[in-house]
Amino acid sequence: MRALTLLRATRRPVPSANTKRALRVALVLGTLGFASAPYWLGGSYFPDIWIDMGLWAVIGVGLNVVIGFAGLLDLGYMAFYAIGGYVFANAALYHGFNLWETLPVGAVIALVSSAIIGFPTLRVRGDYLAIMTLGFGGIVYFAAQNLTALTGGVNGLYGWKTPSLLGHPFITPLDFYPFVLALLVLAALVTMHLRTSRIGRAWTCIKDDEIAAAASGIAIVRYKLYAYMLGSVWAGLAGALFAAKEALISPESFTFDASFFAVAIVVLGGMGSISGVIVGGIFYVVIAEWLSAYTGTLSGVIFAALLLLVVLLRPQGLIPYRPTFDRRRLRRYGLPEPPVAADDYRLDP
């Protein structure tokens, strides 16, 4: 039990500036080393795993906007991954689009479809929203199986021309890897920026207290819809990259399990924490895909057990989000000498 209590978030002594700097350097080097691992590990197995990690991390970052920022439980998130994938497959197969031309189209269609789905569903709260999103995930899955004209049915779609950029064809997983990485960096940066801005604060307010949010002038349903859309767009982009890399898309990848694992990644990593959900995505791939090579179906049990452990011992997730208003923002935006007493107040500065 002692080992378990150590996992709990405890108050540690404040490290010195030097220790902090050393830790930061180690963190940056470690991240760079880890991200570039497919290049120095070589082969096609490792790049494949790393692409999986990257895509699941993007899924985590996207769903984190919906669950972590706005507090909306979405059990059908992978529907947008499917939509992105099928948009790419159709465009590539029937219209000869290249991947790079398709990505923006996939993003726009994910935005539009999430707006269409979100508009009626986001008026309901809590459990009801979870059930409706679950239903939407189911609808997209069965549509993928049965709308043969668009999706190729259970066999899926495949056989489009290999994507290429500036004459360089994309064949091996290592060709796709930089783009997965770029998408992850973009998703992480944009959502991080959104969090500390007008829209991100509105999401936090809605998550914490809807009545107080409305009393501050926040349009609840509209901002929930924005969260749903700005979360879903990343799944659309990741889905298109996934289909391009696999050179095949079929309903198998979008079962309910996948949407459940997406939620699990956010909870495991830390709701609201961007670095947390990225680690969550990496963890998921390590356990569910890598470990399954050795342990078979037992890997699912291990992942579930790990999730339970985290929920019980560290409910804020592996890397919890610690909200604060940091000194840097204050120095940049604040008054040079902030007033302390009431007399210094002016009604309209």
């Binding site: 829209i199 936090t204 002038g217």
Partner: protein, 263 residues
């Protein structure tokens, strides 16, 4: 009850009635509030004070009569629309955002004033930085005004002591530069010194031209701060007038203050 309702009043409440499943929560409630005026609303528990606040702020939509803010009828308008028209409120049980810092709480109060698009936020454009700068400086002013100028802006809102949380809630409302500010029992849980300085602050708010609607149980605050007082009992206005008039009104003494004298 004879109330001269002038249409140009800042806030005009006329003949408001609310029933909750057979219970008459409010009946024939009329009063108006002018710029810079502090209007106290008192009455025993269950007299309908909070219901009245909820009607005016748009949380209770099913009512008779009319409420107008600056001549605009508020019927059917959502709470956030009413906020946009210039009405802000605080809550009887403090409602702060538990995952926002002190500074971010006051920034959230400026939601309608900050002009940045999603694109500005996502890619940190010049407009984003300019807007955040204005918002942070206004927040610093508002925090100083409510007496929280010394608090570290990065502290969590929930980590403040109770009185500080009440003040922060007022800062969040005030930073929206409302025309009308409704305070629901701001002195609850405060000691005599704290409630005295709260009274000073409310006077200062009104001095800027804001009309203040004040629900309060602390009679010292009510009597020392209010320009006029409306007394509710069982959902009805039983008296209306200056603190001196209210103090000596036999109906009020019977219904409300009489209990305290007898106790």
């Amino acid at each position: 009850m004879t109330t001269a309702l002038t249409p140009e009043s800042l806030l005009a409440v006329s003949d408001v009635a609310v029933t909750f499943g057979g219970v008459q929560a409010l009946a024939d409630v009329s009063f108006n509030l002018e710029r810079g005026e502090i209007l106290g609303i008192i009455g025993p528990n269950g007299a309908g004070k909070t219901t009245l606040f909820n009607v005016v702020s748009g949380l209770v939509k099913d009512y008779q009569g009319s409420v107008a803010l600056g001549g605009i009828d508020l019927r059917g308008k959502s709470p956030q629309r009413i906020v946009g028209l210039g009405l802000r409120r605080t809550f009887q049980n403090v409602r702060l955002f538990k995952s926002l810092s002190v500074m971010d709480t006051v920034l959230a109060g400026q939601h309608l004033a900050i002009r940045e698009s999603v694109f500005d936020s996502a890619f940190r454009t010049r407009r984003y930085h300019r807007q955040e700068g204005i918002a942070v400086q206004r927040a610093q002013q508002a925090l100083a005004f409510v007496g929280l100028g010394h608090v570290a802006p990065g502290d969590m809102a929930a980590s403040l002591p109770y009185g500080g949380q009440r003040r922060l809630e007022i800062a969040r409302a005030l930073v929206g530069y409302p025309k009308v500010l409704m305070l629901d029992e701001p002195a609850a849980g405060m000691n005599a010194t704290e409630s005295r300085s709260l009274g000073t602050m409310i006077r200062r708010i009104a001095a800027t031209g804001i009309g203040v609607l004040l629900v309060e149980h602390d009679m010292r605050v009510i009597m020392s701060v209010c320009d006029r007082i409306v007394v509710l009992n069982f959902g009805r206005v039983i008296a209306q007038g200056t603190p001196e008039q209210i103090r000596s009104d036999p109906a009020v003494v019977r219904a409300y203050l009489g209990d305290e004298v007898g106790a």
